[in-house]
Amino acid sequence: MSAFTQQETSAVAESTETINTTKALALINSQAPFACSDGKDSLDIALIFASFEQGVSLFFQGDGVYQLIDKQNGSLISVKDYLKTFAAFEFYDIEDIYICQQSLAERKLASSFHIDNVQILTVKDFAVQLVQHKHILRF
């Protein structure tokens, strides 16, 4: 991924000082959905943490943004479509779902997702949100 500019890095540092790390866990999803199980593993962890009422936020960056794209159909390639479980996020009170705007733009993807209540953030805002979490796992 592209490196942060110095200005962006300092913005992140600034926010680290001023904002408490109040949320428990951030999961960064960086892989496309079907070729590997990273997305499924991340989903499992999100639902387990949410079941125990630990705050979980989801971040989609790089090829991870493909996990959210509308009109996918894993059954065509005999993959169990775990993406449909994303619809349960609301039930699990997983409300903080962030998408990297730059990753969408690079892939020429429209903002049509198969779940609602997602927030598209610039790289800078994405980083600011991320550092508010106590723990960060990347898949």
């Binding site: 960086s30 079907f34 070729a35 790089g62 090829d63 065509l76 993807l109």
Partner: protein, 97 residues
């Protein structure tokens, strides 16, 4: 002497497509499988279609559809049977994975 290039990874997170295109000549054929289907929207493919229009680029139809990837001309949608035929009509096969 022609080569069949089977590309399997997204060029947005891997260097495979760039390495493949660096070696491909105009008589070769490229097939996009699995996450390589995302490459239809990658600037490298657009550049190649522009600079080497003779180079055939195919895409596995089901793999693209599963990923909600739109197939546009001149990229040709193929099925698994076509891929097998291609392995016989080319002298070598390279799988980029």
């Amino acid at each position: 002497m022609t080569t069949l290039h089977i590309v399997r990874k997204s060029a947005f997170s891997s260097n495979d497509l760039a390495q493949c295109l660096a070696l491909a000549t105009k008589a070769d054929t490229i097939v996009l499988l699995d996450d390589a289907c995302y490459n239809v929207n990658h600037p490298l493919i657009a550049k190649t279609l522009n600079e080497q229009p003779e180079l055939a680029i195919n895409i596995m139809q089901t793999h693209a559809q599963a990923r909600a990837v739109n197939i546009m001309n001149p990229i040709k949608a193929i099925v698994m049977e076509d891929l097998i035929k291609l392995t016989f009509t080319h002298k070598q096969v390279i799988t980029w994975q």
